[in-house]
Subunit: 169 residues, 2 copies
DNA sequence: AAGATACGTCAATATGGCTGTCCCATCTTC
DNA sequence: GAAGATGGGACAGCCATATTGACGTATCTT
């Protein structure tokens, strides 16, 4: 245990370098927490033959109806081709629909169909169950800290995007 | 915005159902925070022609030297075949080595080579930079809350495994 | 001696990413 | 009005990472 842990901590440690234990704990909890949370929805997705990539698109379309494709591309940070496949699958299943932008007619604005709304809500229930019980166990003060640390992980150039998502709830 | 958000909140809301805003915020911050943190190491991995799957294995082997393969399988929760490929890649690059267990000679205990130790430390530096600055910006109290909420996301049956990782640091 | 366990390996498959290229419709700018 | 930029779609091919199922071998347990 000692070797890999200590080798990355220089002997003349500055405050930022005294955190190996705390950093490893954060890395591990993020890994397990994130993967376990996403697993909570796999079953619901599999019923429709969909994967997590589909859920990510569905989630953000639910969050910001009439989202142009370019905005969704920035959020997901994947290529147009990868997103195209996902959106085709969702449209084929009648979960999303598009509408030509009225300001810029080149844009296609994405929104959920009523079936999509219902399906997203069903998946969201699973996320809510997991997160709400973690929130309840930790207490409101911890939840605030949880948010603060995660906000600090988001690079400055992406922060505006995340804030925009959350400003109107 | 209103439709998909409100549809999943029943009118007769119990306390656990009054949290849609908080839950969506947590989902989004976890998504962006986790993906951005993992991106911090992609460049270092690509230099060796490795991916994130390799880093996950490398990380947990660094964390618990002489880890049997079965323990790593439980941690990563992937199949033996998937892990086998990853371990082959790491061994081919001289980053890990195995040793026959002396208690149970069927086991192969995994550990990093000196090169592996150095490489893992280099990747860990990138993680530390990201997490330490997020910790510093949020403050120690927030960090505690961050940990508490994430612990609450880990199912009871997995918790022992995570605690075991962190008990001897 | 029988069965369980730890690990390895074969073959086939699915998912979700990627690059590069080309196209069309529409908006902006000069 | 022409030129160029932008939003979006589509083709082909590739790669990384995961999956299932079946089978084999060494070793431990009973």
């Amino acid at each position: 245990m000692a070797v890999p842990s200590s080798v990355s901590v220089p002997p003349t440690a500055s405050p930022l370098f005294l955190r190996e234990n705390e950093v490893r704990r954060g890395v591990e909890l993020l890994f397990f927490g994130y993967t376990r949370l996403t697993r909570a929805i796999d079953e619901g997705l599999a019923e429709h033959g969909l994967g997590r990539a589909h859920h990510r698109a569905l989630y953000f379309i639910a969050r910001q109806p009439d989202l142009p494709i370019s905005a969704l591309l920035k959020i997901l940070a994947i290529t147009k081709q990868s997103l195209g496949r996902v959106l085709t699958d969702l449209a084929d299943r009648g979960l999303i629909e598009t509408q030509t932008g009225n300001i810029d007619r080149r844009q296609k604005l994405l929104r959920l169909t009523p079936e999509g709304v219902q399906f997203e809500a069903q998946l969201f229930d699973a996320l809510r169950n997991s997160l709400a019980s973690a929130y309840a166990a930790a207490g409101q003060e911890s939840v605030t800290g949880f948010w603060r640390v995660l906000e600090g992980l988001i690079p400055a150039e992406d922060k505006a995007m995340v804030v925009a998502l959350q400003k109107d709830i």
